[in-house]
């Protein structure tokens, strides 16, 4: 990525006094955090209503962003609307800080908002995530922004959005319960290892975005504010801090998060969620932590102990 473009006008140009609070390194050709102010206001109003109605999907006018749908356009718009100059941003993709998607989004906000970025969960105030919740427990002063491909939990069961809106209005989630019943009757367990629907505050069925079932329990009564943005589907929803979130299940078949029964090959953790990495074409494989920051921390601890 090229260096931030410098304004030819320099510091003495008209209007420069309005930009004095902008941190070093921000590209002045963009409005702070890329989005225009009218768009931010619209998204901010949607976020406030989303917090007031936990788990309910709020439609919003998603803008075209300088990256394709499916790369986190919803999450980026939410992040852009909440971000301030003193925030410290972390971006993860499947738990990793070092994938193309995560690096690009981090650079995007470093350039357009001039914010500090980090790969450490503990240092971040805003964490944008694709498909994971960090292993390190979140704090009250942190905000987790999820990138959501399909916000409608009933999508595979009822394709008409007008009908799903009505089902949410009536809190009629029998379709989801029948699907879960059929999974259990035919296979003995839920067929969804990720994106398992949750009931928020006992009212709204919500897609947790495609996080593994392993992460579902972390949604429940989390001290951090959880915001969800779906760019292509143009929906925003939220789970306020300390809100009860229950994975859909039955009394006699309680929800059971899954984890590969191995220690991490790098840090030895037996509690972190693992990715399976195929290492050759003879069936060789290794299991490593999906959360790269938690893995590095645990490896550091293990190294120090030796």
């Amino acid at each position: 990525m090229r260096d931030p473009v410098r304004s030819p006008e320099g510091a003495g140009a008209p209007g420069a006094e309005h930009r004095r609070r902008e941190p070093e390194g921000r590209d002045p050709h963009y409005n702070f955090a890329y989005l225009d102010e009218a768009t931010k206001r619209m998204i901010r109003r949607a976020i406030l209503k989303a917090i007031a109605i936990p788990g309910h999907q709020i439609p919003f006018g998603a803008r075209e962003m300088p990256l394709p749908y499916g790369w986190g356009t919803g999450g980026i718009q939410v992040t852009a609307s909440i971000l301030g100059p003193s925030d410290v941003l972390k971006v993860i993709d499947q738990g990793a800080d070092d994938t193309t998607n995560a690096v690009s989004i981090r650079r995007f906000f470093a350039r357009t908002a001039g914010v500090a970025t980090t790969t450490r969960t503990a240092e971040a105030t805003v964490i944008q995530t694709r498909h994971r919740i960090p292993e390190r427990p979140l704090r009250e002063d942190q905000i987790l922004v999820f990138q959501v491909p399909m916000p409608e939990p009933l999508f595979r069961l009822e394709p008409r959005l007008a009908e799903t809106r009505r089902l949410h209005a009536l809190a009629d989630y029998s379709l989801a319960q029948v699907k879960l019943y059929e999974d259990i009757a035919q296979q003995g367990e839920s067929a969804s290892s990720y994106n398992h629907p949750v009931l928020v505050n006992g009212r709204y069925l919500m897609s947790p975005s495609p996080i593994p079932g392993f992460d579902n329990p972390k949604l429940d009564r989390n001290p951090a504010l959880l915001l969800f943005g779906a760019g292509r589907e143009k929906k925003i929803y939220a789970v306020p801090p300390y809100t009860p979130v229950k994975s859909l299940d039955f009394d006699d078949h309680p929800f059971a998060p899954m984890r590969a029964p191995h220690p991490c090959a790098l840090c030895g953790s037996t509690t972190h969620y693992l990715d399976e990495i195929v290492t050759d074409d003879r069936g060789g494989r290794m299991f490593v932590c999906s959360d790269t920051d938690a893995c590095a921390e645990a490896a550091g601890r293990a190294g120090a102990a030796r």
Binding site: F32, H56, P59, L225
Partner: protein
């Protein structure tokens, strides 16, 4: 005409974050460092919320006098409506309009419920009402001076129609707190 935010971008962001914190953690009191110097009787915190969130897309109702309305119209561009039930945002500088008369949204689109900003005398955390609900680990306590005597009953009726309902922002000088419609209020003697 008095100015709005000194820095329209970053001050609006700070005001929004304060409201978001207040809404996500009901009963906590947020202070606004960079609130605009609004004409009386508009409290700085209420002015900051309006400037951060209201625009041409949000029909606005207020009981503020003409000079104050001119200031809001100039800085937000929001269209004024005469009837409280037509407004997306409401600013009550004196008496709070009855919650039952405001836009509550529909069961399919509860997000169309209004946001009511009420200016109150004082917000004192750690005393008064016992608040619980989403955003609150156990309970928050908040004493609010200046709401109508029947407010707890009005609020219970507002919460009973969930997901429909009205959300509240309470502003006192440069401080604000928020009551999302999920909040439960218990009076303690």
């Amino acid at each position: 005409m008095r100015p709005g935010f000194a820095d329209p971008v970053l001050d609006a962001q700070a005001a929004f974050r304060a409201v978001m914190q207040a809404m996500a953690r009901p009963g906590t009191v947020q202070r606004l460092a960079a609130a605009p110097d609004a004409p009386p009787p508009i409290a700085p915190a209420a002015a900051a919320v309006l400037l951060a969130l209201a625009d041409a897309d949000t029909p606005l109702w207020t009981d503020a006098p003409e000079a104050a309305r001119g200031w809001i119209a100039f800085h937000t561009g929001a269209p004024f409506v005469a009837a409280p039930e037509e407004a997306a945002f409401l600013l009550a500088t004196s008496a709070m309009p009855p919650l039952a008369g405001l836009r509550a949204g529909s069961d399919e689109a509860p997000q169309e419920g209004a946001t009511l900003i009420v200016q109150v005398g004082a917000l004192r955390p750690g005393a008064g009402w016992r608040l619980s609900g989403p955003g609150i680990a156990e309970a928050h306590r908040l004493a609010v001076a200046g709401l109508p005597a029947d407010f707890p009953a009005q609020w219970a009726a507002n919460a009973a129609r969930f997901p429909r309902g009205v959300d509240l922002v309470l502003a006192a000088e440069d401080a604000l707190a928020a009551f999302p419609r999920t909040l439960r209020i218990a009076e303690e003697g």
